[in-house]
Amino acid sequence: MKEAINLSLPSKPEYVSIARLTASFIANQMGFDVEIIEDIKLAVGEACNNAIIHSGSEETYKIEFLNLTNELKIEIRDHGKGFSMDNYKKPNADDLQENGLGLFIIKSLMDQVDIESFEGRGTKIIMSKTIE
């Protein structure tokens, strides 16, 4: 089985909770356990934050949830400014900064994460979680 749920959201902070609620609803329906649902919800929230922060002048970004029966695959795509992964630094607990924790959290919580970002052409984050 393969079912897709698509959202297109304005690049504004007040709509991120729609994506988070959708994520927890789908994960719950698929049968993930409570702790994993929280992880998925946070990872989706972080990816949306990222889309908004890097959105530049673009007005919307898109999220696709793919229900693959025992795997949930989520793609968040914006057409904003993009960023270079070369500038990404893993956070350091001794010198924590205000920014840069989002991608780290996504990578820590999801099974598989692919990030494609091209300066000037936007960012695509694809992440997945398998039901154990």
């Binding site: 007040e14 991120v16 919800k41 929230g45 934050n49 924590l96 989002g102 780290f104 959290i105």
Partner: protein, 105 residues
């Protein structure tokens, strides 16, 4: 759901008590930041965050807390967290914040 704050100055222990209710995220972080800076302007004392009803926090919310911690440290004060839910505590551990902040459960 959004964020609601209950703030109280504890005369006895000489500290600010801030109850975080709801979600600290990209949408509520500015409000939280403004409120905290305002309290810290009124009285430079320690801060206790009561988190029993804190349901969600993301990296932008943590960012506000990290930057606020730098603010209170200037006055030799600190911040404490009380009663974090397991899902929230997990994020504090993941990001190493449990080593920086004092957490009492």
């Amino acid at each position: 759901m959004s964020l609601r704050l209950n703030t109280n100055y504890n005369e006895l222990d000489k500290l600010w008590e801030v109850e975080l209710i709801g979600e600290v995220d990209i949408n509520s972080k500015s409000m939280l930041k403004e409120e905290l800076l305002l309290l810290n302007e009124k009285k430079q004392v320690d801060f206790v965050f009561k988190c029993e009803q804190l349901e969600y926090i993301d990296s932008t919310g943590l960012g506000v807390l990290i930057s606020f911690y730098k603010n209170v440290k200037v006055n030799d004060k600190t911040i404490h967290f009380e009663k974090l839910k397991p899902s929230i505590l997990k994020i504090f551990s993941l990001t190493g914040l449990d080593k920086i902040f004092s957490i009492r459960n």
